[in-house]
């Protein structure tokens, strides 16, 4: 049995094996944390930042990506606090503004109640989650594709824009992409939202209580106990 640590997630004390991440521990409990750049079996990357959680340290708290945050003893984490939701929504807005035609993103928007994008739409057709790059390197042991450039001009590409010798034509990069294969087919965008999947209801993502938004905060989980 691996070493276990005890931590508190959304007011519930849980034990998790040392070396796992907060995301894994929370999902184990059935808590839904949205992710884009995380994929079981690939190295956590911490790039999309949608999986941020609030970490309480005494009187202060900070936000951190749960997919790269290792569990530790006595840790107190809230996965869906007001602060988390606020930041998460803006991050989603930013993602939508770079990739409005992703069905995955539009569904998330419906889920989280993001009804409009306030930023300039610059459709880059890629959210740089890096799943394809990691898949290529880690699962296919290939390293045919990689990141090119930096900052806003960073993209996924092949060296000198030619098919690299390492490529095995596995198509894994396309398969794993949350954007390419799963493009949103809805009609026009209104303020960055496609509106094509209105059937997706807004659900609060905590299975423990009915409305997390009102109950969770640094002071504790009202639905439980207090």
């Amino acid at each position: 049995m691996a070493d276990m640590v005890e931590l508190t997630i959304d007011g519930i004390k849980v034990r998790a094996p040392k070396g796992t991440t907060v995301l894994e521990a929370a999902r184990e409990m059935g808590i839904v944390i949205p992710t884009l750049c995380y994929y079981p079996g690939l190295t956590p990357y911490g790039a999309c930042r949608l999986c941020i959680v609030e970490l309480i340290r005494g009187k202060r708290s900070s936000l951190d990506a749960s997919c790269t945050l290792p569990v530790s003893d006595g840790m107190v984490v809230f996965t869906n606090s007001e602060r988390v939701k606020k930041v998460r929504k803006v991050i989603l807005e930013l993602l939508l503004s770079t990739c409005p035609n992703s069905k995955v993103l539009q569904d998330m928007a419906a889920n989280m109640g993001v009804t409009k994008v306030r930023f300039k739409i610059k459709d880059r057709g890629c959210i740089l989650c890096g799943l394809c790059v990691r898949y290529c390197k880690e699962q296919m042991q290939s390293g045919g594709i990689g990141f090119v450039g930096r900052g806003t001009s960073r993209k996924v590409g092949t060296p000198f824009e030619m098919t690299p010798a390492e490529c095995r034509n596995c198509n894994g990069c396309e398969w794993i992409c949350p954007v390419c294969m799963r493009a949103c087919r809805a009609g026009q965008l209104v303020e960055g939202i496609c509106g094509g999947c209105l059937n997706v209801a807004v659900v609060e993502t905590c299975p423990v209580c009915v409305k997390c938004s009102e109950s969770v905060g640094p002071e504790g989980h009202r639905a439980y106990g207090k």
């Binding site: 390293g143 990689g146 990141f147 090119v148 092949t158 000198f160």
Partner: protein, 177 residues
């Protein structure tokens, strides 16, 4: 494909460079690429492909690194390199106007090289010579406290000089007032 056709002699130089980096793992990548660039003035595609084969590091790793850092070039460089600082100190002392003037004078945007390979023009995040703001570095020489007027004279001097050197009849550009 068109860029960086390596002459036969170059490959020899490459092997000599490789020798210095044998058996040290992937951490050699940046110093190796720096050494290649020091040899050729830029990074010819063929040289990178050869390095990738030689050291058995995927070419995508090389390409990723080369495009990440500002100091690596995949296309040949001009004979003269003019670098304008756009650091904060330079910015508040009017670097934008200096940069604009250079762009006008050379007909180049930042990061470009003139077709005849006489000039490369780049801007740098900070040259670390802030007391001289705004700073322009032309071929390793620092020119401080520049303004549009001064930089125009400077560029024209070099332009004139490089025209004379390549012994083309039309000069006059060099005469700056």
């Amino acid at each position: 494909m068109a860029t960086g056709i390596v002459r036969e002699v170059d490959l020899k130089a490459l092997e000599k460079i490789f020798r210095g980096f044998e058996g040290k793992g992937e951490s050699i990548l940046i110093p190796l690429v720096q050494a290649i660039q020091a040899e050729y003035g830029f990074l010819p595609k063929e040289a990178l492909v050869k390095a990738s084969h030689h050291f058995r590091i995927p070419l995508s790793r090389f390409y990723g690194v080369v495009t990440f850092y500002a100091q690596f070039y995949l296309t040949p460089r001009g004979k003269h390199t003019i670098r304008c600082c756009r650091g904060t100190a330079c910015h508040v002392r009017g670097a934008a106007k200096v940069i604009e003037t250079v762009e006008q004078e050379l007909g180049l945007k930042e990061g470009e090289t003139s077709e005849d390979l006489s000039f490369s023009f780049e801007t740098v995040a900070c040259l670390g010579a802030c007391a001289l703001a705004p700073v322009v570095v032309l071929d390793e020489r620092y020119y401080g406290q520049m303004n549009p007027e001064k930089v125009r004279v400077l560029v024209r001097q070099y332009k004139g000089a490089s025209i004379q050197e390549s012994s083309i009849g039309e000069e006059n550009n060099g005469k700056a007032d």
